[in-house]
C-alpha cells in the first residue's frame, strides 16, 4: 500500500453530497480547463472572467443565457428521464429535430385560423408526438430485440439531421419557404403561432423555459410520487426482480423512452415557437443540443428540477461562447468545457460511493497486527 490515500466504501450517502458533488465537479472541470487554456497560451482567469461577464452579469447577457438554456432544459430532462430507467437515450438531438418538424407543421397548418392558445397547445403536442414516436422506435427495438439503444439512438440523430436537410434544402416540401430560392429556408409561421415571452426586471424569459420548469416538476412527481415511477426505480435496480413481481418491463421501457423523446420534442417545438418561427434546418444542427442535454442530466444527477438549474448554468457558458467567439475565444472551447464538466461529473460519482481517507490509519493497523 504505497498510495497516500485510500477509498473506503460509504455505508450511507449523506444528502449534502447531492449538491456538493456537482459543485466540486464544476470547479474541477474549470481547473482542468484552465490547464488546457494555459497550454494553448491563454490566460484562464481572463477567459473565465469574460465567460461569467457575458453569461450572467447583465440583463442582456441573462436574456441570452435563458434563451440558450431553454433547449438544454428539455434535452436535459430527456436524458434524465431515460437514464433513470437505465435506458441510455442519447438521441435527444434527433428527437428535438423531429419535435421541431412536428411543431412547425402544426404551426403552419393551424397558425392562420385557430385561436392563439389552441395553436400553441397543438404545437407542443405535435412536438411531443413526433419526438416521442421517434424515440419510441428506439425503445421498441430495445424492449423487443434487446438492441443496444445507445448506438441506435445516436444513428437516429444523424438520420434526423438528414431528414431536416431534405425537408428544407433538397426538396420542395411543405416546410420550405417557396420564396426562398437561392438560400432555402423554412416557411415562416403566422404571428399567431409565436409563443409569448415575458420580461422580469429587464430579463426576457421565454414561454418555453417556463413550460420546461412545469414539465420538470411533473416529471419529478411522476418519478418520485407515482406507482409508475416506483416501478421504474425497480427496473433500473434489478430488471429480473421487476419481472418476477409482475412489472411489465418491456412496456415500461417503450413508454419511458417515448416520454424521454417527447420531452426533447417539446424542446424542438420551443425552438420553433419561441425563437426561430420557422423550421431552421441549419440553426438546429449547429448547437449540439442533445449532447449538452446529457451533460445537464449528469451534472444534475438525473434530478429533473436540478436539470433546470444546470441548464441555466450551461446556457450561460454556451451563450458567453457565442458572444465571445473570435480569435481570442475559438469555437470548440465551449464544447471542451462542457465535455470536461461531464468528465468530472462522472469522476465525481466516486465520491458518492466512496470516502477518501488518508492512508496513515491503515499503516498503523498493519503495524499493530
Amino acid at each position: 500500500m504505497k498510495s497516500p490515500v485510500r477509498l473506503e466504501r460509504r455505508l450511507e450517502q449523506p444528502k449534502w453530497l447531492n449538491w456538493a458533488i456537482p459543485l466540486i465537479s464544476l470547479l474541477a472541470a474549470l481547473a482542468v480547463g484552465a490547464i488546457v487554456l494555459l497550454l494553448t497560451g491563454k490566460n484562464p482567469l481572463d477567459v473565465y472572467h469574460r465567460i461569467f461577464e457575458r453569461g450572467f452579469l447583465s440583463t442582456r447577457a441573462l436574456t441570452g443565457t435563458l434563451r440558450t438554456a431553454t433547449p438544454f432544459a428539455f434535452t436535459g430532462l430527456c436524458a434524465a428521464a431515460a437514464f433513470r430507467l437505465g435506458v441510455i437515450n442519447i438521441g435527444g438531438e434527433g428527437q428535438l429535430y423531429m419535435g421541431a418538424i412536428g411543431a412547425s407543421y402544426a404551426g403552419l397548418v393551424m397558425g392562420d385560423s385557430y385561436p392563439v392558445g389552441i395553436v400553441i397547445i397543438a404545437m407542443v403536442f405535435a412536438g411531443m408526438i413526433f419526438g416521442g414516436m421517434y424515440a419510441g422506435f428506439v425503445g421498441l427495438l430495445r424492449a423487443q430485440f434487446n438492441t443496444n439503444e445507445i448506438i441506435t439512438s445516436l444513428m437516429m440523430n444523424y438520420i434526423a439531421g438528414i431528414i431536416l436537410n431534405y425537408l428544407i434544402f433538397n426538396s420542395l416540401s411543405y416546410w420550405r419557404d417557396p420564396r426562398s430560392a437561392g438560400f432555402p429556408s423554412g416557411k415562416p409561421l403566422e404571428k399567431r403561432a409565436f409563443w409569448p415571452s415575458y420580461e422580469i426586471a429587464g430579463v426576457g424569459i421565454s414561454f418555453g423555459l417556463i413550460l420546461a420548469t412545469f414539465v420538470a416538476v411533473a416529471v419529478w412527481v411522476l418519478y418520485k410520487r407515482s406507482r409508475f415511477g416506483f416501478e421504474i426505480g425497480i427496473i433500473a435496480d434489478s430488471p429480473r426482480a421487476a419481472r418476477y413481481i409482475g412489472i411489465r418491463t418491456k412496456t415500461t421501457i417503450v413508454l419511458v423512452t417515448a416520454l424521454s423523446g417527447a420531452l426533447a420534442g417539446i424542446g424542438g417545438a420551443s425552438q420553433v415557437g419561441d425563437f426561430t418561427h420557422n423550421l431552421d434546418a441549419k440553426g438546429l444542427q449547429l448547437n449540439n443540443f442533445g449532447y449538452t442535454g446529457i451533460v445537464v442530466a449528469a451534472l444534475a444527477r438525473l434530478n429533473p428540477l436540478g436539470a433546470i438549474v444546470v441548464a441555466i448554468l450551461l446556457g450561460g457558458l454556451t451563450n458567453a461562447g457565442y458572444s465571445l467567439q473570435g480569435p481570442d475565444f475559438p469555437s470548440g472551447l465551449v464544447g471542451t468545457l462542457q465535455g470536461l464538466i461531464l468528465f468530472t461529473a462522472v469522476a465525481g460519482e466516486i465520491l458518492m460511493k466512496y470516502r477518501v481517507k488518508r492512508n496513515t490509519a491503515a499503516k498503523k493497523a498493519m503495524v499493530a497486527s
Partner: protein, 319 residues
C-alpha cells in the same frame, strides 16, 4: 474493366473501410478487456487534428512526414484513451457516460475543433497526404489491380494488423489472459493477472488505433481538416465491433461493407446516377440499425462472444 461500377465500389469500399477497420480493431481490443469505449469518435477526431497539424509542421521527406503524422495521431488518440481508462478502471466510473464525456470533450465541437482553431490547422489543405501506392506496378492489372495493389500504406498495414490481432487474441498466452480479464476479471485476478494493467493497456491501444483511423480521414479521405470530419464513423466503428462478434477477421468484413455504404453516394454521384443524395447519406446509419437489430435478435448476446464483463467496473472483494 477496372472502371466498371462493381470494381470501383469494391475498391472504394476498401478505401473508406480502412479507417473504420482501424477504429473497430481498437474497439475489439478495448472491449475484449471488458472496457466499453464510447469515446471512439472523440479519439478519432483528436487523432485526425493532430495528424493534420503534424503534416503541416513536420519537415523532412514525404514518407517521413506521413510516418510522423501517423505516430503523432496514435500518441494523441492514446492519450485521450488514457483519460477514459482512468475514469473506467481507476475511478470505476459508469463506462457509458465516461465514453460519452470523452466524445463530447474531444469531439466535433470540443477539443478537436479548439485545437484546429488555435493551431490554425484548417487554413490550408494537408501538404503531405497519404497517397495510394502502385504496388509492384500491378495497380492496373484487371480486377485484382484496384482490389489488391492500389491502396494506401495504411490499408496494407491494416491487413497485417488483422492477422496479427487474430493471432494475438486466440493463439498467444497474453491474448488468452486478455480474454480472461474481459470474461471474468475475478478469475483472472485470482490467477495473478493484473486486471488494471490489461485494461489500461488495451484501452490505450484502442485509442491509438482510433487515432490512426482519424488520421486516415484528415490525411487521405478529406486531405484537409474540417471540424467533425469523421461524421459519426466512430459510432459505426463501435457497432462494427458487435457485428464482427469481437473478432478481427469478421470486423474486416463489416468495415468494408460499411465502407462501401459510405462511399456509395460519392461513387454514384460521380457517375450521375439519379438517386437521392440524402437517402445515400442516411444509408450507413439505417444499415447500422438494421444489422444491429438482426444481430441482437437472432442469438443471445452471450453466444456471439460478447465479453461477459463488458462495461462492468472491476472491484476487488473488500475485506
Amino acid at each position: 474493366m477496372n472502371n466498371s461500377l462493381l470494381i470501383v465500389i469494391l475498391a472504394s469500399a476498401i478505401f473508406y473501410g480502412t479507417p473504420l477497420l482501424f477504429a473497430a480493431l481498437g474497439g475489439v481490443f478495448t472491449e475484449r478487456s471488458g472496457v466499453l469505449n464510447l469515446g471512439v469518435e472523440g479519439m478519432m477526431l483528436i487523432g485526425g487534428v493532430s495528424a493534420a497539424w503534424a503534416s503541416q509542421h513536420v519537415g523532412g521527406s514525404a514518407w517521413f512526414t506521413v510516418f510522423a503524422s501517423i505516430l503523432i495521431a496514435m500518441f494523441a488518440g492514446g492519450l485521450t484513451a488514457l483519460l477514459h481508462a482512468f475514469l473506467c478502471v481507476t475511478l470505476k466510473a459508469n463506462q457509458t457516460v465516461a465514453g460519452l464525456s470523452i466524445t463530447i470533450f474531444a469531439g466535433a465541437l470540443g477539443l478537436s475543433s479548439y485545437f484546429a482553431n488555435v493551431w490554425e490547422v484548417a487554413s490550408s489543405p494537408v501538404p503531405r497526404p497519404i497517397r495510394k501506392l502502385d504496388v509492384l506496378g500491378l495497380g492496373d492489372t484487371p480486377v485484382l489491380g484496384p482490389l489488391l495493389f492500389n491502396h494506401t500504406i495504411l490499408t496494407y498495414v491494416s491487413w497485417v494488423l488483422v492477422a496479427v490481432s487474430s493471432f494475438y487474441l486466440f493463439r498467444t498466452k497474453t491474448g488468452l489472459q486478455l480474454r480472461a480479464v474481459g470474461e471474468s476479471p475475478q478469475t483472472a485476478d485470482a490467477m495473478g493477472i493484473s486486471v488494471v494493467k490489461y485494461r489500461y493497456f488495451h484501452t490505450i491501444l484502442g485509442g491509438m488505433l482510433a487515432g490512426i483511423g482519424g488520421a486516415f480521414y484528415s490525411l487521405a479521405i478529406v486531405s484537409t481538416w474540417v471540424d467533425g470530419l469523421t461524421k459519426g464513423a466512430g459510432w459505426i466503428a463501435i457497432a462494427l465491433v458487435i457485428f464482427g462478434f469481437w473478432r478481427p477477421d469478421l470486423t474486416l468484413v463489416g468495415a468494408y461493407l460499411f465502407g462501401a455504404l459510405q462511399s456509395l453516394g460519392t461513387t454514384l454521384k460521380a457517375r450521375s446516377f439519379h438517386i437521392s443524395g440524402d437517402l445515400l447519406d442516411a444509408l450507413p446509419f439505417i444499415m447500422t440499425i438494421i444489422v444491429l437489430v438482426l444481430v441482437s435478435s437472432r442469438f443471445a448476446h452471450k453466444r456471439l462472444g460478447a465479453p461477459a464483463a463488458l462495461g462492468v467496473p472491476y472491484e476487488r472483494e473488500e475485506r
